[in-house]
Every structure is written in C-alpha cells, then in structure tokens.
C-alpha cells in the first residue's frame, strides 16, 4: 500500500474555544481592589478599670454626629469641609508637654493654653448616634485620618526631604512586591518615628442609645 500522509488537524476553531474561555473568566471574575480606612478598636473591658486616667478637657477634641448627620465639633456646629483644618489646629497646637514630659519642638500650631498639650496627648473623641448614616460617619473618619496624614506628610518631608512623604513611604513599605529588606528596615524606622511624633488617637465611643 502506498504511504498515506496523515491529514493535518484543523486548528481553526482553537481561537474560538480560547475566546470562549476568556469571556467566561472575564465575566466570572473581579479585578477590583479593596480600599479602606483602617482603624483600631479599643480593647473590650468587662469591668471598667477602677482608676481611669484623668484626661484634661483641653486635650480632648470632641466630634459629635447626630441623627440628622449634623456635626458638633467642640460644642459648635461645623461643616465637614472645615473639620480637617480644625483637627490639624488641635493636634498640632503643642501648648504644653507630652506624655514623657517633652515639649513639642516640631509643632507649628499656635501653642495656645486652651488647646492640646502635645500630639501624643491629643485625643479625638468621635461620638455618633445609632441613626447616624454610615456614609457621614466614614466621611468624618476620612477627614480626621486625612488631618493626621497631612501632619505626618509634613514632618516626613521636613526630615527626609521632598519625595519622601509619609504616604509614599508607607505605600512602598506595604508593597509586597518590594523585596529589598534593607530598604524596608529603613522605612520601618522612619515610619515608626513619624508615627510616634503624631500618633493617631481617635476614640470611637459606643453610640448613644436614645
């Protein structure tokens, strides 16, 4: 018998099959990235501690949101857009000494007697009611967080030069793709130092039930 040549397999429909698979994966998967405001909740105490530390009223910056989503800052009605500025003024005041008895030599605030002593003592107390809308609450949390970020960025740029803002260093530090350990260690000490200068103290009190 004569040698028969093997017929070539037609690969024309291969592309169709691959397209089908591609479209299936496009439809069933999500590419979105989650972004969020990270906060740390206070520890749960079954019994309140016997001697709660006395905190001076001037070191507390109270923000109260009512059920109509109106905001009272230090007992005065305030718009959301003014909150960041007010928070920065409060944190950065530096009128007295910090928790370790040191003066705030990097603060650029007014050093007024009636506002916070030191960023390490400045507490922002955020209170809400049960009927407050979540979006308002998150917007306020966002503004308060932005106030700290702005101060931290300012100090990072002052200490480590332009282009080394806190946000940027933090992004590099958190990036799992960066494998340079020496760089990460350097960033870690820098970030810790700035976090110590402006520790984020936002107290989220339990909501009032009316």
């Amino acid at each position: 018998m004569a040698k028969r040549s093997i017929p070539e397999v037609n690969a024309g429909s291969m592309a169709d099959i691959a397209f089908l698979l591609l479209i299936f994966f496009l439809v069933t998967t999500t590419i979105e990235q989650d972004n969020g405001i990270t906060r740390k909740l206070p520890r749960w105490e079954d019994v309140p501690p016997p001697n709660p530390p006395v905190i001076k009223k001037k070191n507390i910056f109270t923000v109260v949101v009512n059920k109509n989503d109106q905001m009272l800052v230090e007992d005065e009605l305030m718009e959301l857009k003014d909150l960041k500025k007010a928070a920065i003024e409060f944190i950065d005041n530096g009128g007295g000494v910090g928790t370790e008895g040191e003066k705030c030599d990097y603060c650029q605030g007014e050093r007024s007697e009636s506002s916070s002593d030191h960023p390490s003592k400045a507490i922002i107390a955020l209170k809400n009611e049960r009927e407050t809308t979540y979006s308002t609450y998150v917007a306020i949390q966002n503004e308060l967080g932005a106030a700290y970020t702005e101060l931290r960025n300012r100090e990072a740029v002052r200490l480590y030069g332009q282009g080394n803002s806190y946000t940027r260093m933090n992004a590099i530090y958190k990036d799992p793709k960066v494998k340079d350990d020496a760089l990460k260690a350097k960033l870690d000490t820098r970030l810790k130092k700035i976090k110590k200068m402006y520790p984020q103290i936002i107290s989220e009190a339990e909501s009032k039930s009316n």
Partner: protein, 156 residues
C-alpha cells in the same frame, strides 16, 4: 520559464491567523492570574461610602475576614425586611451570630495568622451606624480589634 507562475498583480497574501490562539491564550492566562473568583453573591445592597485617605487591602490576603451589611436586595426584602442587616458568608445574620462566625473564620486559618487577622467592613453607605456599632461591639468582645471601613475613591 513556464515553471514560475506569475503573481497576479495587486493581490495580497492572506494573513496568517495561526498565532491568534496563542494571543488569546495569553490574554486568558493573564486574566486568570490577576483576577479573583466571585466567592459569594450579595444578598444585601452594597454601595460603599466615599473616602480618599485610604489604604489598599490585598484581596488574596487570607488575614482579611469580610462582613457585609446593608438593606436586603429585592427578592430578599419580603423575607428579611427593609432594615439594614448583616450578611456573613451566604447567610443573612444578626449581630449576635457574629461570635460564631468569628470562631468559624478563625478555625479556617493557621495559628500564626490569627493574631494578625483583620476585619473588612463592607457596609452600604445608607445604613445606620447602630448596626455598625453593634458589629464593632461584638468584634471588640472577640478581640478582633483591627478593622477597615471599606470605601471607594470619589470620582473626580
């Protein structure tokens, strides 16, 4: 010279499509690697609030545990009412069921990861803070102190 056929003037050779499957496969593999399968369908409305001072959260990170909340979507509204509720995995739940959920989530993870676990709150922006406060209370009782209020960047 009859052996050499004269090319007809102006006719283009047909483009080869042999590489097309390869290209499509490449795209396919790209999407397979960069995307995540939708793991559960949402039974609650979930429009996230807007914020810009935010941090990225890695979705493939197994330290993160998700809690959804919002109004039940149509089809579930007659069963679960129109008030905002929680969704844990595939079930509509009450805040009192969170404890069980946290224990189940912890059991899924290895011992070393548990202290670093964090909670991502995917809460609809029109929900009341009351529900969120209840969730936070339960999380505090279970010592899950690190939370993230998931939000989206506002459109410019």
């Amino acid at each position: 010279m009859a052996k050499f056929k004269k090319k007809k003037d102006g006719e283009l050779p047909q483009a080869s499509t042999a590489a097309l499957p390869d290209i499509v496969f490449m795209l396919l593999f790209f999407f397979m690697t960069v995307t995540v399968m939708k793991d559960n369908s949402l039974m609650v409305e979930n429009k996230l609030p807007e914020a810009d001072d935010i941090e990225k959260l890695n979705r493939k990170n197994d330290r993160v545990m998700y809690i959804y909340a919002g109004k039940p979507v149509e089809g579930y509204a007659d069963k679960f009412g129109t008030e905002a509720v929680l969704q844990l995995n595939d079930k509509i739940a009450q805040p009192s069921e969170l404890k069980q959920f946290i224990h189940a989530e912890r059991a899924l993870r290895t011992e070393e990861i548990i202290p670093f676990m964090m909670t991502a709150l995917k809460v609809d922006k029109n929900s009341n803070m009351g529900l969120v406060s209840d969730v936070k209370q339960e999380l505090r009782k279970e010592n899950m102190l690190k939370i993230s209020y998931l939000s989206v960047k506002p459109a410019q």
